[in-house]
């Protein structure tokens, strides 16, 4: 029956029928929350009572109360972790793009952690960081036993341990993306450069890096906004104790544990703005470079 209609009316029916569900979902679960969040952030509200409009009061609290502001410094650990993660990923992707024995084995092993369940990883590293646990034992074996500490108990190193876990978890993702990008460079480019006397470093610097620049910048954006919104690893492992609370843990706690929806919304708005600014700066920086 449908096929009897003219293509023009078919077209209109299909447009409406195919878009109505996705657009409703998009509106309800992507844009409405953002709009609501802006509105909530200007109110004092616990989720049940009437909302009371208080203007920018919540924002003032976040920026002036050290309890809220301090969590930004925790992001720095993840931020530096991100750069380590990207460099390692790029290094391994480059090596494994050339002739290597047992290539597929190394590829699989380095990538596999990315596929693992976040809770499983959190528990795995809780065990790994325990006193006399995996890490301490390994350090002892290689003669670095003096460096052992309470990896998750010492406030000076807890964020390094957690950011390290994060690097372990996500490095494989960057790695596999880089590997895919490098493999799309045609082989004869390397051959030609070898005739010209280029070594591996030259090939990396002048062939690989420029060819995958866009992918690197894309990964950098993803990684930076990932660092700002770090949540799962520290939440599962420490619940944010010992100075390891990230901005998102603080937001989730403020909202769901202490029932301060208005304040939590202001925090979320701030995070959203930072992510958008970082993304915009990155895009501009890298597109001008081309």
């Amino acid at each position: 029956m449908f096929s009897k209609l003219s293509y023009k009316s078919q077209r209109n029916i299909i447009i409406v029928a195919f878009l109505i569900v996705p657009l409703t979902l998009l509106g309800t679960f992507s844009f409405l929350p953002v709009a609501n969040m802006f509105w909530y952030s200007l109110t004092e509200w616990n989720g049940f009572s009437d909302k009371e409009f208080i203007g920018l009061e919540n924002y003032k609290t976040v920026f002036t109360d050290p309890e809220y502001f301090r969590v930004f410094t925790v992001s720095l650990y993840y931020f530096f972790g991100t750069f380590l993660q990207m460099s390692l990923a790029l290094y391994f992707a480059t090596i494994l793009s050339f002739k290597v024995r047992m290539k597929n084995f190394f590829k699989g092993v380095i990538f596999f952690p990315y596929l693992l369940n976040g809770v499983a990883i959190g528990f795995m590293f809780l065990l790994f960081f325990q006193p006399d646990g995996g890490l301490d034992t390994i350090l002892g074996l290689v003669g670095l036993g003096d460096f052992t500490t309470h990896w998750l108990g010492n406030p000076d190193v807890i964020n390094i341990s957690l950011a390290g876990t994060s690097v372990w978890r996500y490095m494989g993702f960057n790695f596999i993306i880089f590997l895919g990008a490098i493999s799309s460079i045609p082989n004869d480019v390397y051959e030609a450069s070898e005739i010209d006397g280029a070594n591996r470093w030259h090939q990396f610097r002048y062939i690989i890096l420029p060819s995958i620049k866009i992918i690197v910048s894309l990964n950098l954006i993803l990684a930076i906004s990932g660092a700002l919104s770090a949540f799962e690893i520290p939440y599962i492992m420490t619940g944010g104790s010992n100075g390891s609370a990230t901005f998102v843990i603080q937001t989730v706690d403020t909202a769901f544990k202490y029932g301060k929806i208005g304040l939590a919304s202001a925090m979320a708005v701030i995070l959203l703005f930072i992510v958008i600014i970082v993304t915009a700066v990155q895009r501009k920086f890298f597109s001008e470079d081309d």
């Binding site: 195919f18 992507s30 409405l32 909530y40 699989g108 976040g118 993702f173 989730v252 979320a268």
Partner: protein
């Protein structure tokens, strides 16, 4: 030259082995511990292999006491519905936006792309209020609808792929009198298969490993998924690491099997999913 080459090779393999060890060791320690008895766990070092590789007692306890069966069941239901839903919704949006140019089509495309800029984790507080007011809190639909509604990546992948399917195929089908719906179902959908595989993989990994959506929206025990079932081990089993380790292994084994059997597709899927 030769000495330099040798040194280069040494650094190359040494770093690869170090990298592989760093990736494997934490998992290996968990594997060892999961086969140890309680007494054996406390008396041996983490790098000591278990005495009895057939001691499945911990696995039994983790599976039964940790309600892992419920977790697997719910995870599978959510996975199936969200994958089928995402594939349908994503391919339909891509079909309409790529094939029909109409007033507002650019705007709609822009709206989908703009949504990629919003990290889901930032809007959680406000999303929670919406899910709650729709009466979906503590139902399995909370997770399913959130996975469906915010999957912009899938739409993006399908859009990329759609533009490489020649419009002349549609036109020749129209000469044979096929309706637009037939074109979508019989021509476009089968041709989208590689993109569908990509979406299934990316979606599957995300849903299986997601923690905070089920944690926040479905705290009820009957509704727990693998992630939240495992998370519940935290308190009561604090001192029985060998049981927790068995739980970790139970959560990891399906991933491992999927990885080993689908390795090639997973690599391709992720690369084509994120690079373009």
């Amino acid at each position: 030259m030769n000495g330099k080459h040798l040194a280069g090779n040494f650094i190359k393999y040494a770093s690869l082995i170090l990298g592989a060890l760093a990736a494997i060791l934490p998992i290996l320690i968990v594997l060892f511990a999961s086969f140890k008895t309680g007494a054996e766990y406390t008396s041996t070092g983490p790098l000591t292999p278990p005495e009895d590789w057939t001691n499945f007692e911990n696995f039994k306890r983790a599976f039964v006491e940790g309600n892992m069966m419920t977790g697997f069941k719910n995870t599978v239901i959510i996975l199936l519905v969200s994958i089928v839903g995402t594939t349908l919704v994503g391919s339909m949006v891509a079909f309409v936006l790529d094939r029909f140019k109409f007033r507002g089509s650019k705007l709609i495309l822009g709206a989908f792309l703009l949504a990629t800029l919003i990290p889901a984790v930032t809007t959680q507080v406000a999303t929670f209020q919406i899910v709650n007011s729709l009466g979906l809190f503590n139902t399995i639909w909370a997770a399913i609808i959130l996975y469906l509604g915010t999957d912009i990546i899938a739409i993006y992948i399908f859009l990329q792929f759609m533009s490489s399917i020649s419009v002349s195929l549609d036109e020749s089908a129209m000469l044979d009198g096929a309706s637009y719906f037939t074109i979508y179902r019989k021509i476009i959908l089968p041709l989208l298969t590689p993109a569908i595989v990509t979406v299934i993989i990316v979606k599957g990994i995300n849903v299986y490993n997601d923690f905070y959506t089920p944690f926040l929206y479905m705290p009820k025990t009957d509704l727990q998924v693998i992630s939240t079932a495992l998370f519940k081990f935290k308190g009561p089993y604090g001192s029985e690491w060998e049981v927790i380790c068995a739980g970790i292994m139970l959560a990891i084994i399906p991933t491992f099997i999927a990885f080993i059997s689908l390795q090639k597709y997973i690599y391709n899927g992720l690369t084509s999913g994120s690079v373009k």
